[in-house]
Protein backbone atom coordinates (compact mmCIF):
# COMPACT_ATOMS: atom_id res chain seq x y z
CA UNK A 1 0.00 0.00 0.00
CA UNK A 2 1.60 3.29 -1.10
CA UNK A 3 2.08 6.27 1.17
CA UNK A 4 2.03 9.98 0.48
CA UNK A 5 4.88 11.51 2.46
CA UNK A 6 6.11 15.07 2.92
CA UNK A 7 9.74 14.18 2.60
CA UNK A 8 12.90 16.16 3.14
CA UNK A 9 15.74 16.07 0.67
CA UNK A 10 18.92 14.68 2.19
CA UNK A 11 21.20 14.99 -0.82
CA UNK A 12 21.31 15.74 -4.54
CA UNK A 13 24.34 14.33 -6.31
CA UNK A 14 25.46 14.64 -9.87
CA UNK A 15 26.22 11.24 -11.36
CA UNK A 16 27.51 11.66 -14.90
CA UNK A 17 24.67 13.06 -16.98
CA UNK A 18 22.16 12.27 -14.23
CA UNK A 19 21.19 13.41 -10.77
CA UNK A 20 20.67 11.09 -7.83
CA UNK A 21 18.36 12.41 -5.13
CA UNK A 22 17.97 10.98 -1.65
CA UNK A 23 14.83 11.89 0.28
CA UNK A 24 13.95 11.19 3.90
CA UNK A 25 10.56 9.53 3.44
CA UNK A 26 9.64 7.52 6.53
CA UNK A 27 7.54 4.45 5.87
CA UNK A 28 8.35 4.07 2.20
CA UNK A 29 11.67 2.14 2.45
CA UNK A 30 10.13 -0.71 4.46
CA UNK A 31 7.52 -1.28 1.76
CA UNK A 32 9.83 -0.98 -1.24
CA UNK A 33 10.93 -3.91 -3.42
CA UNK A 34 13.16 -3.74 -6.52
CA UNK A 35 11.11 -2.42 -9.46
CA UNK A 36 8.83 -0.18 -7.41
CA UNK A 37 8.68 3.48 -8.34
CA UNK A 38 8.00 6.86 -6.77
CA UNK A 39 5.76 9.70 -7.96
CA UNK A 40 7.21 13.07 -7.03
CA UNK A 41 5.43 16.42 -6.93
CA UNK A 42 7.36 19.15 -8.74
CA UNK A 43 7.30 22.94 -8.59
CA UNK A 44 6.09 23.38 -5.01
CA UNK A 45 2.56 23.78 -3.65
CA UNK A 46 1.62 26.63 -6.00
CA UNK A 47 3.19 24.98 -9.02
CA UNK A 48 1.62 25.29 -12.45
CA UNK A 49 2.87 21.73 -13.04
CA UNK A 50 0.06 19.60 -11.65
CA UNK A 51 1.29 16.17 -12.52
CA UNK A 52 3.75 14.04 -10.63
CA UNK A 53 6.97 12.78 -12.15
CA UNK A 54 7.58 9.04 -11.84
CA UNK A 55 11.02 7.59 -11.09
CA UNK A 56 12.18 4.06 -10.43
CA UNK A 57 13.44 3.60 -6.89
CA UNK A 58 17.18 3.02 -6.83
CA UNK A 59 18.18 2.57 -3.22
CA UNK A 60 16.38 2.55 0.12
CA UNK A 61 17.62 2.59 3.68
CA UNK A 62 15.18 1.53 6.37
CA UNK A 63 16.90 3.43 9.12
CA UNK A 64 19.34 6.26 8.74
CA UNK A 65 20.37 9.02 11.08
CA UNK A 66 17.40 11.00 9.75
CA UNK A 67 14.93 8.14 9.30
CA UNK A 68 14.19 5.95 6.30
CA UNK A 69 15.46 7.26 2.99
CA UNK A 70 14.68 6.57 -0.62
CA UNK A 71 16.94 7.39 -3.57
CA UNK A 72 16.07 7.83 -7.23
CA UNK A 73 17.95 8.80 -10.36
CA UNK A 74 16.73 11.23 -12.98
CA UNK A 75 17.78 13.11 -16.08
CA UNK A 76 16.76 16.70 -16.72
CA UNK A 77 14.25 16.45 -19.57
CA UNK A 78 11.83 19.31 -19.02
CA UNK A 79 10.69 21.95 -16.57
CA UNK A 80 9.71 19.48 -13.86
CA UNK A 81 13.03 17.67 -13.74
CA UNK A 82 14.88 21.00 -14.10
CA UNK A 83 13.09 22.21 -10.96
CA UNK A 84 13.94 18.98 -9.22
CA UNK A 85 17.62 19.31 -10.13
CA UNK A 86 17.70 22.70 -8.41
CA UNK A 87 16.48 21.39 -5.05
CA UNK A 88 18.91 21.43 -2.15
CA UNK A 89 19.25 19.42 1.06
CA UNK A 90 16.50 20.19 3.59
CA UNK A 91 14.05 21.29 0.88
CA UNK A 92 10.67 19.60 1.20
CA UNK A 93 9.49 17.12 -1.40
CA UNK A 94 6.07 15.45 -1.59
CA UNK A 95 6.55 11.83 -2.65
CA UNK A 96 4.10 8.98 -3.18
CA UNK A 97 5.35 5.42 -3.09
CA UNK A 98 6.17 2.68 -3.39
CA UNK A 99 4.07 2.30 -6.53
CA UNK A 100 3.56 -0.40 -9.13
CA UNK A 101 4.27 -4.09 -9.23
CA UNK A 102 7.91 -4.92 -8.49
CA UNK A 103 10.08 -7.56 -10.17
CA UNK A 104 9.17 -11.11 -9.23
CA UNK A 105 12.15 -13.04 -7.90
CA UNK A 106 12.99 -16.63 -8.83
CA UNK A 107 12.30 -19.18 -6.11
CA UNK A 108 15.54 -21.06 -6.75
CA UNK A 109 19.15 -19.86 -7.07
CA UNK A 110 19.19 -19.67 -10.87
CA UNK A 111 21.36 -17.83 -13.40
CA UNK A 112 20.10 -14.34 -14.01
CA UNK A 113 21.06 -11.70 -16.56
CA UNK A 114 20.19 -8.05 -15.94
CA UNK A 115 20.10 -5.58 -18.81
CA UNK A 116 20.00 -1.84 -18.14
CA UNK A 117 19.85 1.01 -20.63
CA UNK A 118 20.87 4.50 -19.44
CA UNK A 119 19.56 5.14 -15.94
CA UNK A 120 17.28 2.13 -16.40
CA UNK A 121 19.97 0.30 -14.47
CA UNK A 122 18.88 2.12 -11.28
CA UNK A 123 16.16 -0.38 -10.25
CA UNK A 124 18.29 -3.31 -11.44
CA UNK A 125 21.09 -2.72 -8.95
CA UNK A 126 18.96 -3.35 -5.84
CA UNK A 127 17.46 -6.28 -7.75
CA UNK A 128 20.97 -7.66 -8.25
CA UNK A 129 21.56 -7.44 -4.50
CA UNK A 130 18.31 -9.29 -3.78
CA UNK A 131 19.20 -11.97 -6.34
CA UNK A 132 22.70 -12.43 -4.92
CA UNK A 133 21.18 -12.87 -1.49
CA UNK A 134 19.18 -15.74 -2.94
CA UNK A 135 22.32 -17.33 -4.30
CA UNK A 136 21.70 -16.48 -7.95
CA UNK A 137 24.47 -16.05 -10.48
CA UNK A 138 24.10 -12.46 -11.71
CA UNK A 139 25.46 -11.25 -15.04
CA UNK A 140 24.93 -7.63 -15.96
CA UNK A 141 24.83 -5.84 -19.30
CA UNK A 142 24.77 -2.05 -19.27
CA UNK A 143 24.31 0.16 -22.29
CA UNK A 144 24.03 3.89 -22.88
CA UNK A 145 24.47 6.52 -25.53
CA UNK A 146 27.67 7.85 -24.02
CA UNK A 147 29.92 7.04 -21.05
CA UNK A 148 28.36 9.74 -18.88
CA UNK A 149 24.94 8.18 -19.41
CA UNK A 150 26.02 4.84 -18.08
CA UNK A 151 24.65 4.50 -14.56
CA UNK A 152 25.96 2.15 -11.87
CA UNK A 153 29.09 0.91 -13.62
CA UNK A 154 31.22 0.53 -10.48
CA UNK A 155 28.43 -0.99 -8.43
CA UNK A 156 27.58 -3.45 -11.17
CA UNK A 157 31.21 -4.39 -11.56
CA UNK A 158 31.50 -5.09 -7.83
CA UNK A 159 28.34 -7.14 -7.69
CA UNK A 160 28.14 -9.05 -10.95
CA UNK A 161 29.69 -12.36 -11.92
CA UNK A 162 30.34 -10.66 -15.25
CA UNK A 163 29.72 -7.17 -16.60
CA UNK A 164 29.43 -6.19 -20.26
CA UNK A 165 29.20 -2.55 -21.28
CA UNK A 166 28.22 -0.93 -24.56
CA UNK A 167 27.94 2.68 -25.66
CA UNK A 168 26.51 4.07 -28.89
CA UNK A 169 29.65 6.20 -29.39
CA UNK A 170 32.16 3.69 -28.06
CA UNK A 171 33.32 6.10 -25.33
CA UNK A 172 33.36 3.19 -22.90
CA UNK A 173 32.97 -0.54 -23.42
CA UNK A 174 31.96 -1.96 -26.76
CA UNK A 175 30.93 0.39 -29.52
CA UNK A 176 27.34 -0.70 -30.11
CA UNK A 177 24.14 -1.69 -28.39
CA UNK A 178 23.32 -4.12 -25.60
CA UNK A 179 21.68 -6.38 -28.16
CA UNK A 180 25.13 -6.81 -29.78
CA UNK A 181 26.53 -8.47 -26.66
CA UNK A 182 23.48 -9.94 -24.95
CA UNK A 183 23.23 -13.24 -26.92
CA UNK A 184 26.80 -14.18 -25.97
CA UNK A 185 26.17 -13.27 -22.31
CA UNK A 186 22.97 -15.31 -22.20
CA UNK A 187 24.67 -18.32 -23.74
CA UNK A 188 27.87 -18.15 -21.72
CA UNK A 189 26.10 -17.66 -18.38
CA UNK A 190 23.41 -20.22 -19.23
CA UNK A 191 20.85 -17.64 -18.20
CA UNK A 192 17.56 -18.93 -16.80
CA UNK A 193 15.89 -15.55 -16.35
CA UNK A 194 16.37 -12.06 -17.81
CA UNK A 195 15.39 -8.73 -16.24
CA UNK A 196 15.58 -5.47 -18.19
CA UNK A 197 14.87 -1.79 -17.72
CA UNK A 198 15.55 0.98 -20.22
CA UNK A 199 14.17 2.49 -23.41
CA UNK A 200 11.29 0.68 -25.12
CA UNK A 201 13.36 -0.25 -28.19
CA UNK A 202 15.94 -1.89 -25.96
CA UNK A 203 13.30 -3.78 -23.96
CA UNK A 204 11.88 -5.10 -27.15
CA UNK A 205 15.26 -6.29 -28.43
CA UNK A 206 16.04 -7.95 -25.09
CA UNK A 207 12.64 -9.65 -25.05
CA UNK A 208 13.22 -11.03 -28.55
CA UNK A 209 16.69 -12.33 -27.77
CA UNK A 210 15.51 -13.97 -24.56
CA UNK A 211 12.48 -15.46 -26.33
CA UNK A 212 14.71 -16.98 -29.04
CA UNK A 213 16.35 -18.98 -26.27
CA UNK A 214 13.12 -19.71 -24.43
CA UNK A 215 14.23 -17.62 -21.45
CA UNK A 216 11.52 -15.80 -19.49
CA UNK A 217 12.08 -12.07 -19.39
CA UNK A 218 10.71 -9.40 -17.08
CA UNK A 219 10.87 -5.82 -18.27
CA UNK A 220 10.16 -2.55 -16.46
CA UNK A 221 8.60 -0.08 -18.91
CA UNK A 222 8.66 3.68 -18.80
CA UNK A 223 5.39 5.19 -20.01
CA UNK A 224 4.37 8.77 -19.48
CA UNK A 225 2.03 9.02 -16.50
CA UNK A 226 -0.18 11.69 -14.99
CA UNK A 227 -0.98 10.13 -11.61
CA UNK A 228 1.07 6.96 -11.04
CA UNK A 229 -1.65 5.51 -8.83
CA UNK A 230 -4.05 4.01 -11.37
CA UNK A 231 -6.78 6.61 -11.72
CA UNK A 232 -5.93 8.63 -14.85
CA UNK A 233 -5.63 5.91 -17.53
CA UNK A 234 -2.89 7.70 -19.48
CA UNK A 235 0.02 5.24 -19.09
CA UNK A 236 -1.59 2.33 -20.93
CA UNK A 237 -0.02 -0.08 -23.38
CA UNK A 238 -1.31 -3.17 -25.19
CA UNK A 239 -0.53 -6.27 -23.13
CA UNK A 240 -1.73 -9.85 -23.62
CA UNK A 241 -3.39 -11.29 -20.52
CA UNK A 242 -3.47 -14.83 -19.12
CA UNK A 243 -6.64 -15.40 -21.14
CA UNK A 244 -4.81 -14.59 -24.37
CA UNK A 245 -6.72 -11.35 -24.88
CA UNK A 246 -5.07 -7.97 -25.42
CA UNK A 247 -6.06 -5.11 -23.19
CA UNK A 248 -4.84 -1.56 -22.77
CA UNK A 249 -3.36 -1.94 -19.31
CA UNK A 250 -2.07 0.68 -16.91
CA UNK A 251 1.69 0.50 -16.59
CA UNK A 252 1.50 2.21 -13.18
CA UNK A 253 -0.55 -0.42 -11.34
CA UNK A 254 -0.39 -3.50 -13.55
CA UNK A 255 3.26 -2.69 -14.32
CA UNK A 256 5.76 -1.19 -14.60
CA UNK A 257 7.14 -4.73 -14.63
CA UNK A 258 5.65 -6.97 -17.29
CA UNK A 259 6.60 -10.28 -18.80
CA UNK A 260 8.39 -9.14 -21.95
CA UNK A 261 6.59 -11.56 -24.26
CA UNK A 262 3.20 -10.25 -23.11
CA UNK A 263 3.84 -6.70 -24.31
CA UNK A 264 2.81 -6.09 -27.90
CA UNK A 265 5.89 -4.10 -28.76
CA UNK A 266 4.90 -3.56 -32.41
CA UNK A 267 1.67 -1.97 -31.28
CA UNK A 268 2.82 0.26 -28.42
CA UNK A 269 1.36 3.71 -29.10
CA UNK A 270 -1.64 2.22 -30.90
CA UNK A 271 -4.77 0.30 -30.00
CA UNK A 272 -4.52 -3.02 -31.89
CA UNK A 273 -7.79 -3.94 -33.57
CA UNK A 274 -8.13 -7.13 -31.54
CA UNK A 275 -7.86 -5.29 -28.22
CA UNK A 276 -10.79 -5.84 -25.86
CA UNK A 277 -13.16 -2.93 -26.48
CA UNK A 278 -11.37 -1.57 -29.56
CA UNK A 279 -13.61 0.37 -31.86
CA UNK A 280 -13.19 -1.02 -35.30
CA UNK A 281 -15.52 1.25 -37.19
CA UNK A 282 -13.87 3.20 -40.00
CA UNK A 283 -12.62 6.60 -38.95
CA UNK A 284 -12.72 5.56 -35.31
CA UNK A 285 -9.80 5.01 -32.97
CA UNK A 286 -6.39 5.00 -34.56
Amino acid sequence: MPLQVQGEILSVKRVGAYQAMTVVAPGIPELTRPGHFLAVQVGGPESSMLLRRAFAIYDVKDRGVYGGTVEFVFAVHGKGTAWLSQRRPQDKLDVVGPLGKPFRLPKNPVNVTLVGGGYGSAPLLPLATALRERGCRVDIVLGAGTADRLFGFMEAKRMADSLAVTTDDGSIGLHGRVSDVLPAVLDKSRADVVYACGPMAMLRAVTDQAAERGIPCQVAVEESMACGIGVCMTCVLPVVGDDGLTRMVRSCVEGPVFLGDRVRWDDVGTVPLDTVGAITAPGAHR
Binding site: P2, C232, T234, V268, G269
Partner: protein, 339 residues
Protein backbone atom coordinates in the same frame (compact mmCIF):
# COMPACT_ATOMS: atom_id res chain seq x y z
CA UNK B 1 -18.88 22.97 14.26
CA UNK B 2 -19.98 23.92 10.78
CA UNK B 3 -22.91 21.98 9.40
CA UNK B 4 -21.42 20.68 6.15
CA UNK B 5 -24.39 18.63 4.98
CA UNK B 6 -25.70 19.43 1.57
CA UNK B 7 -28.79 18.38 -0.33
CA UNK B 8 -28.77 17.44 -3.99
CA UNK B 9 -32.30 17.03 -5.33
CA UNK B 10 -33.66 15.51 -2.13
CA UNK B 11 -30.63 13.37 -1.28
CA UNK B 12 -28.60 14.52 1.70
CA UNK B 13 -24.83 14.11 1.67
CA UNK B 14 -22.66 14.54 4.78
CA UNK B 15 -20.44 17.06 3.05
CA UNK B 16 -20.11 18.75 -0.35
CA UNK B 17 -16.78 17.35 -1.59
CA UNK B 18 -16.93 14.63 -4.23
CA UNK B 19 -14.41 13.14 -6.61
CA UNK B 20 -14.79 13.95 -10.32
CA UNK B 21 -15.67 11.51 -13.04
CA UNK B 22 -12.59 10.16 -14.79
CA UNK B 23 -10.26 11.34 -12.04
CA UNK B 24 -10.89 8.70 -9.39
CA UNK B 25 -11.59 5.47 -11.32
CA UNK B 26 -14.15 3.79 -9.02
CA UNK B 27 -12.60 4.91 -5.76
CA UNK B 28 -10.59 1.85 -4.89
CA UNK B 29 -7.16 3.26 -5.73
CA UNK B 30 -7.83 6.46 -3.76
CA UNK B 31 -9.08 4.48 -0.78
CA UNK B 32 -5.42 3.55 -0.22
CA UNK B 33 -4.75 7.23 0.51
CA UNK B 34 -7.91 8.31 2.34
CA UNK B 35 -11.15 6.77 3.53
CA UNK B 36 -13.51 7.29 0.59
CA UNK B 37 -16.53 7.16 2.89
CA UNK B 38 -15.36 10.43 4.46
CA UNK B 39 -16.15 12.52 1.39
CA UNK B 40 -19.57 13.41 0.04
CA UNK B 41 -19.39 10.78 -2.66
CA UNK B 42 -17.31 9.02 -5.26
CA UNK B 43 -18.17 10.03 -8.82
CA UNK B 44 -17.08 7.07 -10.92
CA UNK B 45 -15.44 7.16 -14.34
CA UNK B 46 -18.07 7.22 -17.10
CA UNK B 47 -19.18 3.71 -17.82
CA UNK B 48 -20.53 2.51 -21.17
CA UNK B 49 -22.54 -0.58 -22.08
CA UNK B 50 -19.60 -2.49 -23.52
CA UNK B 51 -15.91 -2.69 -22.69
CA UNK B 52 -13.94 0.02 -24.41
CA UNK B 53 -10.22 0.22 -25.08
CA UNK B 54 -10.01 4.00 -25.29
CA UNK B 55 -7.66 5.86 -27.57
CA UNK B 56 -4.04 5.32 -28.50
CA UNK B 57 -1.19 6.92 -26.55
CA UNK B 58 0.03 9.58 -25.93
CA UNK B 59 -3.18 10.36 -24.09
CA UNK B 60 -1.93 13.17 -21.92
CA UNK B 61 -0.13 16.47 -22.19
CA UNK B 62 0.67 18.72 -19.27
CA UNK B 63 -0.25 22.36 -19.85
CA UNK B 64 0.18 25.48 -17.69
CA UNK B 65 -1.89 24.82 -14.53
CA UNK B 66 -3.71 22.06 -16.32
CA UNK B 67 -3.56 19.08 -18.58
CA UNK B 68 -5.10 17.74 -21.75
CA UNK B 69 -6.45 14.23 -21.74
CA UNK B 70 -7.59 12.07 -24.57
CA UNK B 71 -8.46 8.81 -22.87
CA UNK B 72 -11.53 8.05 -24.96
CA UNK B 73 -13.72 6.57 -22.19
CA UNK B 74 -11.67 3.44 -21.58
CA UNK B 75 -13.63 1.12 -19.33
CA UNK B 76 -14.76 -2.44 -18.62
CA UNK B 77 -18.41 -2.04 -19.62
CA UNK B 78 -21.46 -2.01 -17.36
CA UNK B 79 -21.47 -5.75 -16.48
CA UNK B 80 -17.99 -5.76 -15.01
CA UNK B 81 -18.58 -2.35 -13.47
CA UNK B 82 -21.59 -3.64 -11.55
CA UNK B 83 -19.88 -6.85 -10.58
CA UNK B 84 -16.57 -5.40 -9.47
CA UNK B 85 -16.54 -1.65 -9.04
CA UNK B 86 -20.02 -0.87 -7.79
CA UNK B 87 -20.01 -3.98 -5.61
CA UNK B 88 -16.79 -2.75 -4.02
CA UNK B 89 -18.22 0.73 -3.42
CA UNK B 90 -21.35 -0.82 -1.87
CA UNK B 91 -19.24 -3.09 0.32
CA UNK B 92 -17.11 -0.18 1.38
CA UNK B 93 -20.17 1.87 2.32
CA UNK B 94 -19.24 4.72 -0.03
CA UNK B 95 -21.83 6.91 -1.67
CA UNK B 96 -21.55 6.38 -5.42
CA UNK B 97 -22.47 8.82 -8.12
CA UNK B 98 -22.35 6.72 -11.25
CA UNK B 99 -21.40 8.51 -14.44
CA UNK B 100 -22.75 6.96 -17.62
CA UNK B 101 -21.87 7.59 -21.28
CA UNK B 102 -23.21 6.25 -24.52
CA UNK B 103 -23.31 6.76 -28.24
CA UNK B 104 -27.10 6.84 -28.51
CA UNK B 105 -30.20 7.63 -26.47
CA UNK B 106 -30.84 3.91 -26.32
CA UNK B 107 -27.40 3.25 -24.78
CA UNK B 108 -28.14 5.72 -22.00
CA UNK B 109 -31.59 4.23 -21.38
CA UNK B 110 -30.11 0.75 -21.06
CA UNK B 111 -27.38 1.95 -18.73
CA UNK B 112 -29.96 3.63 -16.50
CA UNK B 113 -32.01 0.42 -16.41
CA UNK B 114 -28.97 -1.57 -15.31
CA UNK B 115 -28.32 0.84 -12.44
CA UNK B 116 -31.93 1.16 -11.41
CA UNK B 117 -32.55 0.35 -7.77
CA UNK B 118 -28.92 -0.56 -7.03
CA UNK B 119 -28.44 0.25 -3.33
CA UNK B 120 -25.00 1.82 -3.80
CA UNK B 121 -26.16 4.34 -6.40
CA UNK B 122 -26.80 7.70 -4.73
CA UNK B 123 -27.09 9.59 -7.99
CA UNK B 124 -26.61 9.15 -11.72
CA UNK B 125 -24.47 11.63 -13.60
CA UNK B 126 -25.18 11.67 -17.32
CA UNK B 127 -22.00 12.41 -19.25
CA UNK B 128 -23.31 14.05 -22.38
CA UNK B 129 -20.23 16.20 -22.78
CA UNK B 130 -17.10 14.07 -23.16
CA UNK B 131 -15.02 15.73 -25.86
CA UNK B 132 -13.04 12.57 -26.59
CA UNK B 133 -15.46 10.91 -28.93
CA UNK B 134 -14.96 10.18 -32.60
CA UNK B 135 -17.36 12.78 -33.83
CA UNK B 136 -17.77 16.15 -32.19
CA UNK B 137 -21.33 16.05 -33.53
CA UNK B 138 -21.86 13.24 -31.01
CA UNK B 139 -21.35 15.55 -28.06
CA UNK B 140 -24.98 15.68 -26.96
CA UNK B 141 -24.34 18.64 -24.66
CA UNK B 142 -23.64 20.88 -27.64
CA UNK B 143 -27.26 20.67 -28.72
CA UNK B 144 -30.35 21.30 -26.55
CA UNK B 145 -32.51 18.76 -28.37
CA UNK B 146 -29.93 15.99 -28.22
CA UNK B 147 -29.30 16.71 -24.54
CA UNK B 148 -32.98 16.64 -23.84
CA UNK B 149 -33.46 13.25 -25.50
CA UNK B 150 -30.69 11.63 -23.48
CA UNK B 151 -31.73 13.15 -20.16
CA UNK B 152 -35.37 12.17 -20.66
CA UNK B 153 -34.40 8.58 -21.42
CA UNK B 154 -32.22 8.36 -18.32
CA UNK B 155 -34.80 10.01 -16.09
CA UNK B 156 -37.53 7.65 -17.28
CA UNK B 157 -35.39 4.61 -16.54
CA UNK B 158 -34.10 5.71 -13.15
CA UNK B 159 -35.78 5.11 -9.80
CA UNK B 160 -37.76 8.09 -8.52
CA UNK B 161 -35.60 8.67 -5.46
CA UNK B 162 -32.33 8.69 -7.43
CA UNK B 163 -31.39 12.12 -8.74
CA UNK B 164 -30.23 12.40 -12.34
CA UNK B 165 -27.62 15.08 -13.01
CA UNK B 166 -26.63 16.09 -16.54
CA UNK B 167 -22.98 17.05 -17.04
CA UNK B 168 -22.64 20.09 -19.23
CA UNK B 169 -19.95 21.20 -21.64
CA UNK B 170 -18.56 24.73 -21.46
CA UNK B 171 -17.91 24.61 -25.21
CA UNK B 172 -21.26 26.15 -26.15
CA UNK B 173 -22.44 29.64 -26.94
CA UNK B 174 -24.96 29.79 -24.10
CA UNK B 175 -24.70 27.15 -21.41
CA UNK B 176 -28.03 28.18 -19.86
CA UNK B 177 -29.90 27.08 -23.00
CA UNK B 178 -28.54 23.54 -22.61
CA UNK B 179 -29.08 23.69 -18.85
CA UNK B 180 -32.75 24.59 -19.30
CA UNK B 181 -33.26 21.91 -21.94
CA UNK B 182 -31.84 19.29 -19.54
CA UNK B 183 -33.99 20.45 -16.64
CA UNK B 184 -37.09 20.56 -18.83
CA UNK B 185 -36.32 16.98 -19.87
CA UNK B 186 -36.27 15.89 -16.24
CA UNK B 187 -32.74 16.46 -14.96
CA UNK B 188 -32.85 16.92 -11.19
CA UNK B 189 -29.56 18.77 -11.19
CA UNK B 190 -26.57 19.75 -13.30
CA UNK B 191 -22.87 18.96 -13.17
CA UNK B 192 -20.92 21.98 -14.35
CA UNK B 193 -18.47 21.68 -16.16
CA UNK B 194 -16.80 19.00 -18.28
CA UNK B 195 -13.40 19.68 -19.89
CA UNK B 196 -12.82 22.24 -22.62
CA UNK B 197 -11.69 20.98 -26.00
CA UNK B 198 -8.02 21.82 -26.45
CA UNK B 199 -4.90 20.96 -28.36
CA UNK B 200 -1.13 20.96 -27.95
CA UNK B 201 1.42 20.71 -30.75
CA UNK B 202 4.82 19.22 -29.93
CA UNK B 203 7.35 21.66 -31.36
CA UNK B 204 10.04 18.97 -31.55
CA UNK B 205 8.08 16.43 -33.57
CA UNK B 206 5.99 19.23 -35.11
CA UNK B 207 2.93 17.03 -34.72
CA UNK B 208 -0.05 17.11 -32.33
CA UNK B 209 1.10 15.97 -28.87
CA UNK B 210 -1.88 13.65 -28.38
CA UNK B 211 -2.61 10.57 -30.48
CA UNK B 212 -6.24 11.67 -30.47
CA UNK B 213 -5.09 15.09 -31.74
CA UNK B 214 -7.51 17.04 -29.52
CA UNK B 215 -8.23 16.47 -25.85
CA UNK B 216 -10.10 17.80 -22.86
CA UNK B 217 -8.47 20.60 -20.88
CA UNK B 218 -8.84 20.40 -17.11
CA UNK B 219 -7.16 21.72 -13.98
CA UNK B 220 -6.92 25.15 -12.36
CA UNK B 221 -6.42 26.73 -15.79
CA UNK B 222 -10.16 26.29 -16.46
CA UNK B 223 -11.41 27.33 -13.03
CA UNK B 224 -12.56 30.84 -13.98
CA UNK B 225 -14.49 29.38 -16.92
CA UNK B 226 -16.13 26.85 -14.62
CA UNK B 227 -17.03 29.46 -11.99
CA UNK B 228 -18.56 31.62 -14.70
CA UNK B 229 -20.62 28.67 -15.97
CA UNK B 230 -21.86 27.79 -12.48
CA UNK B 231 -22.74 31.45 -11.91
CA UNK B 232 -24.70 31.68 -15.18
CA UNK B 233 -26.57 28.41 -14.65
CA UNK B 234 -27.43 29.27 -11.05
CA UNK B 235 -28.64 32.73 -12.09
CA UNK B 236 -30.85 31.21 -14.79
CA UNK B 237 -32.10 28.26 -12.71
CA UNK B 238 -31.73 29.20 -9.03
CA UNK B 239 -33.71 26.21 -7.75
CA UNK B 240 -31.72 23.57 -9.63
CA UNK B 241 -28.88 22.01 -7.61
CA UNK B 242 -25.42 22.17 -9.18
CA UNK B 243 -22.44 19.90 -8.67
CA UNK B 244 -19.60 22.27 -9.56
CA UNK B 245 -16.20 21.27 -10.88
CA UNK B 246 -13.28 22.61 -12.87
CA UNK B 247 -9.80 23.10 -11.42
CA UNK B 248 -10.62 22.91 -7.71
CA UNK B 249 -7.34 22.62 -5.83
CA UNK B 250 -8.04 24.14 -2.39
CA UNK B 251 -10.85 24.70 0.07
CA UNK B 252 -11.10 28.31 -1.05
CA UNK B 253 -11.52 27.18 -4.65
CA UNK B 254 -14.39 24.96 -3.49
CA UNK B 255 -15.90 27.90 -1.61
CA UNK B 256 -15.77 29.95 -4.81
CA UNK B 257 -17.95 27.37 -6.56
CA UNK B 258 -20.41 27.25 -3.66
CA UNK B 259 -20.66 31.04 -3.67
CA UNK B 260 -21.32 30.94 -7.42
CA UNK B 261 -24.26 28.61 -6.81
CA UNK B 262 -22.98 25.04 -6.55
CA UNK B 263 -24.43 22.87 -3.78
CA UNK B 264 -21.47 20.50 -3.93
CA UNK B 265 -18.15 20.23 -5.75
CA UNK B 266 -15.99 17.62 -7.45
CA UNK B 267 -12.22 17.59 -7.07
CA UNK B 268 -10.79 16.17 -10.28
CA UNK B 269 -7.43 16.73 -11.93
CA UNK B 270 -5.85 17.86 -8.65
CA UNK B 271 -6.13 14.26 -7.45
CA UNK B 272 -3.54 13.19 -10.05
CA UNK B 273 -0.90 15.31 -8.35
CA UNK B 274 -2.26 14.99 -4.82
CA UNK B 275 -4.16 11.77 -4.11
CA UNK B 276 -5.38 13.01 -0.73
CA UNK B 277 -6.75 16.26 -2.22
CA UNK B 278 -10.47 15.54 -1.65
CA UNK B 279 -10.09 15.24 2.14
CA UNK B 280 -7.65 18.15 2.23
CA UNK B 281 -10.07 20.35 0.27
CA UNK B 282 -12.85 19.30 2.64
CA UNK B 283 -10.79 20.24 5.72
CA UNK B 284 -9.75 23.54 4.16
CA UNK B 285 -13.34 24.34 3.22
CA UNK B 286 -14.54 23.61 6.73
CA UNK B 287 -11.83 25.88 8.10
CA UNK B 288 -12.68 28.64 5.61
CA UNK B 289 -16.36 28.54 6.58
CA UNK B 290 -15.56 28.60 10.29
CA UNK B 291 -13.19 31.51 9.75
CA UNK B 292 -16.03 33.42 8.17
CA UNK B 293 -18.39 32.64 11.01
CA UNK B 294 -20.65 30.55 8.81
CA UNK B 295 -22.47 27.85 10.71
CA UNK B 296 -24.20 26.13 7.81
CA UNK B 297 -22.72 25.31 4.44
CA UNK B 298 -26.18 25.77 2.92
CA UNK B 299 -25.94 29.49 3.77
CA UNK B 300 -23.12 30.14 1.29
CA UNK B 301 -24.67 28.44 -1.73
CA UNK B 302 -25.17 31.13 -4.35
CA UNK B 303 -24.29 33.83 -1.86
CA UNK B 304 -22.16 35.74 -4.38
CA UNK B 305 -25.36 36.54 -6.26
CA UNK B 306 -26.69 38.83 -3.50
CA UNK B 307 -26.75 42.52 -4.32
CA UNK B 308 -23.56 44.34 -3.40
CA UNK B 309 -23.49 46.03 -0.02
CA UNK B 310 -22.45 49.70 -0.38
CA UNK B 311 -19.13 50.59 1.13
CA UNK B 312 -19.43 52.40 4.42
CA UNK B 313 -17.21 55.22 5.66
CA UNK B 314 -16.77 53.77 9.15
CA UNK B 315 -17.26 50.19 10.16
CA UNK B 316 -19.93 49.59 12.80
CA UNK B 317 -18.77 48.77 16.27
CA UNK B 318 -20.10 45.33 17.01
CA UNK B 319 -20.39 43.74 20.40
CA UNK B 320 -17.33 41.72 21.32
CA UNK B 321 -13.86 41.71 19.86
CA UNK B 322 -14.55 39.93 16.60
CA UNK B 323 -16.44 41.83 13.94
CA UNK B 324 -19.67 40.00 13.26
CA UNK B 325 -20.67 40.03 9.65
CA UNK B 326 -24.17 38.89 8.85
CA UNK B 327 -23.83 37.90 5.25
CA UNK B 328 -27.55 37.90 4.68
CA UNK B 329 -27.93 41.46 5.98
CA UNK B 330 -29.97 43.56 3.67
CA UNK B 331 -29.07 46.90 2.28
CA UNK B 332 -31.45 48.67 4.69
CA UNK B 333 -30.01 47.00 7.76
CA UNK B 334 -26.57 48.07 6.76
CA UNK B 335 -27.64 51.61 6.07
CA UNK B 336 -29.43 52.07 9.40
CA UNK B 337 -26.58 50.71 11.47
CA UNK B 338 -24.01 53.00 9.96
CA UNK B 339 -26.02 56.19 9.87
Amino acid sequence: MTDLTTKLAGVTFPNPVFTASGCAAAGRELDQFFDVTRIGGVVTKSIMLDARSGRATPRMAETPSGMLNSIGLQGPGIDQFLEKDLAWLADRGARAVVSIAGGSVDDYAKLAQRLRGHPAVSMVEVNISCPNVEDRGQVFACDPRASSGVVQAVRQNTAAGTPVFAKLSPDVTDITTIAKACVDAGADGLSVINTLLGMVIDTTTMRPALAGITGGLSGPAIRPVAVRCVWQVHAALPDVPILGMGGIRTGLDALEFLLAGASAVSVGTTVFGDPTAPVRVLAELEHALAERGIARLADVIGLAHRPPVPSVPESPDPVGDEPVVDLRRSFDDTFEETS
